[in-house]
Every structure is written in C-alpha cells, then in structure tokens.
C-alpha cells in the first residue's frame, strides 16, 4: 500500500462573502477514480479548479505526490514547476473540447504539442506517437492532418483525451467530459475513458452531474451541495444506499431505463 497522490485538507474558496466551496478534505490514491457529483452551483467545478491549480484557493492545503517522491503543497511550487506538472504529469479534460484543444492546428499537432513542450524534436517520432494515440482514441490515422474544427463533438472530445494522455500523466482532472455530447456518442467516450483509465492506471478526479457516469467510471464518490461535501464513500454504496437527504434526492431523480 502506497500513499495518496493528491491530498486535500480544509480547502476553502470564497468569492467575497459567497462560499464557492468550504471544509473540503479528501485524498485521491494512485489509480483511483473519484467522482465529484452535485447540481449546478454546488461548488464542484470550483473545487476541481482549485485542486487542479487553475483557481486560487482562499485557505487550506493541497498536496501532490511528485514523481521524485516529494509531497509538497501546490502553493509551494514555483510557477514553472506547477506549469510543468500541468503539461506532463497532469491532464485536464474540459467539457467543451474547444477549451482544451487548439482548434486551428491539426489533430497531430494537438497531440504532439505536449511532446514538443517537453523537448521532443524529431518530427517523425512525434508523428508516430501522435498516430498511435489517435488510434487509441479511435480516430483514423488519415485524419491526423485535419483540424479539430472539421471533427464531430465526440471526435473532438476523444482528441482532447489523447492530447492529455500522450505524456503519460498520472492524474487527470475531468470536468463533465461527456456533458456536451449526444447520448449515442457519450457511451463511446465513456467506454474509451474507462479502458484508458484502467490500462494506464490513472488517478482521476471527475466532476459530473450524471450519476450514471459516476457509477461507470468511479470507485469513490463525493457528493456536494452548497459548497460542502455532504456524503462520500464507495460509489455503489453511495448510489445504492444513499444516506444524506440530498443524495437520496439525487438518486431518486434518476430515470430508470
């Protein structure tokens, strides 16, 4: 048994007097998928942005287990280290692929960018790696020189995933990764994510309002309401035996199919 890859304690984010999220403590372990669920305005996206270093926290600690074994608070890293972390050891999958892709450069360059950012300077090798990753997200190799503007929503999302995974990160943040997709396309993206997460042993923090997505992808769940955690536990336990009134309401609101 090792130690957590990410450790959050007493995290708070305020917007003036308004509470974005508060009293947040949890750990993420290597290879584990944690879902943060809640309705719009519950603070789940604020929380995700804080722990992924995209938003400043008001107080509390966020520690990350670096590859070199250190376990520093993210606030104690230099900006250079933090940004390096974000484009190598971390990934961030946005709900809207346009937020995570460069829409005006080719699919191959989108995937290759992180490699070039860490110093790869061999065009042929970068292209081979990009081709391989496009394959892993089920994008045909002959689309490598097409720009994402020519892709469907599902393809764009899969491209965004490939772009994030090419540096073999250990921790991925996802913000409603299937939220903007047609239902028919969602299943494919979810299944792909599920496979990649388990094959690569990724730790994932995924924000979703869709309990079916949480059940399919995550082992553990955090339920948020009004900026606070109201329930946490094993995903199937929380969904099949919800304890908090709000969780019961969420679970009761799912349409059975």
């Amino acid at each position: 048994m090792t130690s957590p890859i990410l450790s959050v304690r007493d995290l708070e984010r305020r917007y003036g007097d308004f509470i974005g999220c508060t009293d947040i403590s949890f750990d993420v372990w290597p290879g584990e998928v944690v879902a943060i669920v809640g309705e719009s305005g519950s603070g789940k996206t604020t929380l995700l942005n804080c722990i992924s270093g995209r938003l400043e926290r008001s107080s509390g600690s966020i520690q990350y287990h670096m590859r070199d074994g250190r376990f520093p608070d993210l606030a104690d890293l230099s900006e250079a280290e933090r940004r390096f972390l974000m484009r190598t050891d971390w990934g961030f999958v946005h709900q809207n692929p346009a937020d995570g892709l460069r829409m005006r450069v080719s699919a191959g360059a989108n995937v290759g960018e992180r490699l070039m950012a860490i110093g790869d300077r061999h065009y042929g090798e970068i292209r081979d790696t990009a081709t391989e990753w496009l394959g892993r997200v089920e994008i045909a190799g002959d689309r490598i020189d097409d720009k994402p503007v020519a892709f469907s929503g599902g393809m764009r999302q899969r491209l965004q995933i490939a772009r994030n995974l090419v540096t073999r990160p250990r921790l991925i943040f996802m913000d409603e990764p299937t939220g903007g997709l047609d239902v028919s396309v969602q299943a494919r993206v979810l299944d792909l994510l599920r496979g990649l997460v388990s094959d690569l042993g990724l730790a994932v923090v995924i924000v979703t309002h869709d309990l079916a997505v949480a059940r399919l992808l995550s082992q553990r769940m955090i339920v948020m309401k009004n900026g606070r955690i109201v329930e946490t536990g094993l995903t199937d336990r929380v969904l099949d035996d919800p304890h908090h009134p709000y969780t019961q309401l969420l679970v009761a609101s799912i349409l059975e199919s």
């Binding site: 250079a80 484009r87 460069r102 080719s106 191959g108 070039m116 061999h122």
Partner: protein, 297 residues
C-alpha cells in the same frame, strides 16, 4: 523669419534617453522584448516607426546612415527615411553597406558581411513569435519567462505536416543564446545565418507593438528546426542576371507581359558594386523567350 528647427534626429532628448534605456536593457538580455513608450512618428504604422525611433535614439552627428527596404536603397520607404534623417539630423547618408555606421532595414540583411562598429536596425511589425498560436500577451510573456517554447515547434510541425517541409520562409523563429525565442522580423530565412555571431550590433524596433529587442555582437542565434527536418536556407538555381552573383538572395522581376522574367540580386548595393567591379550576367531576357527554366526552390 526662421522656423524653429527640429531637435537633432527629430525626437526630444528625454524620449531618446528612454529609448536608449530600453535598447541597453535589450542588449543586456539578448532576444528579450523590452517594452518602451513608443511615440507617434510622422509616418504611418507599418512604415518603420519602430526602426525610425531606434535609429533616432542612437544616431550621432558623425554617423553615416544607410536605409534599405527589401534590400533596395531606392524604394519609397528607404528614400523617405533617409531624407527624414538627412533633414532632421543632418547626417551623411550612403547606399554603400561598407561605408554605413547605421543601417536601418526592412526585410533584408545586406549581402556584404557587417563589421564591428556597425549597427543594423530592423523594422519589426510583430515582435511576438508565439502570437500565431497564442494570442494572449499575458500568456506569451509567461511562456517566455518560463522558457515554455513547445508551441513554436507546433507551428513548424504544421508546416511539415501540410507541405512536407518547413514552409516558413520569412520571419523564421530563432533561439537566442539558448534562451529566448525571437522573431527576426520578416527577413527571408536566407538571412537568418547572418545573424549568428555577427560582429555588428543588431537592434529591433516595433513601433505599433511598443517593443525593442537586441542582439549584441557575436550572439549565438540558432534557427529552430526538427532533428529530421533541419533548417535550410533557400537555394537559387541560377546566378543574378545582372551581376552573375551566386549564394545571394534573388528577386524575381517580370520583364514583360508574355512570361519573361529574370532573377536579380535583392541587395541593390551589392549588385551595383559587383557590376562596377566588372561582373555581368546574362542580362535582360529576349522578350517572349524563357531564359530561366526553373523557379527558385
């Protein structure tokens, strides 16, 4: 009645000092874009307002000024800037590269090697090499600060993916002293190697963008590339039609409306000097007859 005269070299002394401070900072940090309080000049943006301000700030009464545009001393832009300083600073002007102490240029570096003591001032339209892919100035500044230059290779990657080779032929990005990525201004990449290790001081002024940057003499300047697609300069398949020079940058000149064309030195001073020295090429093509079979590579 006499009209009040211009201050020497048009700009007031405080402004020149401000620009000199920016230049010194630029020299101290080769390749780094130093912001400066660019002034309105009596010419439109895009006509060299940045270069003119830099020239005005460094010009002394004993300087000899040469101004070129696309390598030519006789284009409108070159002629008017030369006249501007002849009038406002009363400095000597020349078209001879070797005779000049200050050379202001747009789009070329002279063919004749520059020497110690000379200053070349580049007119720069867009100083930010990362802008093509990252429009946010706040972000590109951080990227320069943290030396995050993966993006610049994304552009080169796109070139190869689309054209099979790096198709960027001008404003080709360089890395300075293994630190800052710099836009060399829209000179042809043919001229990039001339920047490396040059004994002359190289100054860059962007008026609209309010940036100055510099390469002190003997600065290490490397054109970016991929291991398997190394940087290459343009090669021409024929010599200059007028002076028979090879290994120089040629312009294509259309000579009639029946497809006649010739390739001549873009550096007019270089070409004239050679012709005075007795070199001559094939001359004008006979009308209607193709003398040059292949285009420039």
């Amino acid at each position: 009645m006499t009209l009040p005269e211009y201050n020497f070299a048009y700009l007031d002394e405080q402004t020149k000092r401000m620009i000199r401070r920016a230049i010194l900072k630029g020299i101290a940090i080769p390749g780094y874009q130093v912001p400066f309080a660019s002034r309105e000049m009596p010419m439109p943006y895009g006509w060299g307002t940045g270069g003119v301000q830099v020239t005005a700030a460094i010009l002394g009464p004993d300087d000899v000024l040469k101004v070129i545009d696309q390598g030519a001393d006789d284009t409108t832009n070159a002629v008017s800037i030369r006249a501007f300083f002849a009038k406002t600073a009363n400095v000597a002007t020349t078209t001879k590269t070797a005779d000049a102490t200050v050379i202001q240029t747009r789009h070329r570096i002279p063919e004749a090697p520059l020497s110690a003591g000379q200053v070349i001032v580049y007119q720069v339209p867009i100083p930010e090499p990362l802008r093509f892919l990252e429009p946010r100035e706040t972000e590109t500044r951080v990227m320069h600060g943290l030396e995050e230059y993966g993006l610049i290779h994304v552009k080169l990657y796109e070139d190869i993916a689309q054209h099979g080779h790096i198709a960027t032929t001008y404003a080709y990005p360089v890395k300075v002293e293994d630190r800052y990525v710099m836009d060399p201004s829209p000179i042809p990449k043919f001229d990039n190697p001339k920047m490396n290790g040059s004994p002359a001081l190289q100054l860059f002024g962007a008026g609209r963008e309010k940036r100055i940057y510099a390469l002190p003499p003997f600065t290490h300047v490397v054109s970016l590339d991929f291991e398997d697609h190394p940087f290459q300069v343009q090669k021409f398949k024929q010599p200059c039609a007028l002076c028979n020079a090879t290994g120089v940058y040629l312009d294509e000149v259309v000579t009639d409306d029946r497809g006649g064309r010739m390739y001549v030195c873009s550096d007019t001073d270089h070409c004239e000097t050679r012709r005075q020295d007795g070199h001559h090429g094939t001359g004008l093509p006979i009308a209607g007859q193709e003398t040059v079979k292949e285009d420039a590579a």
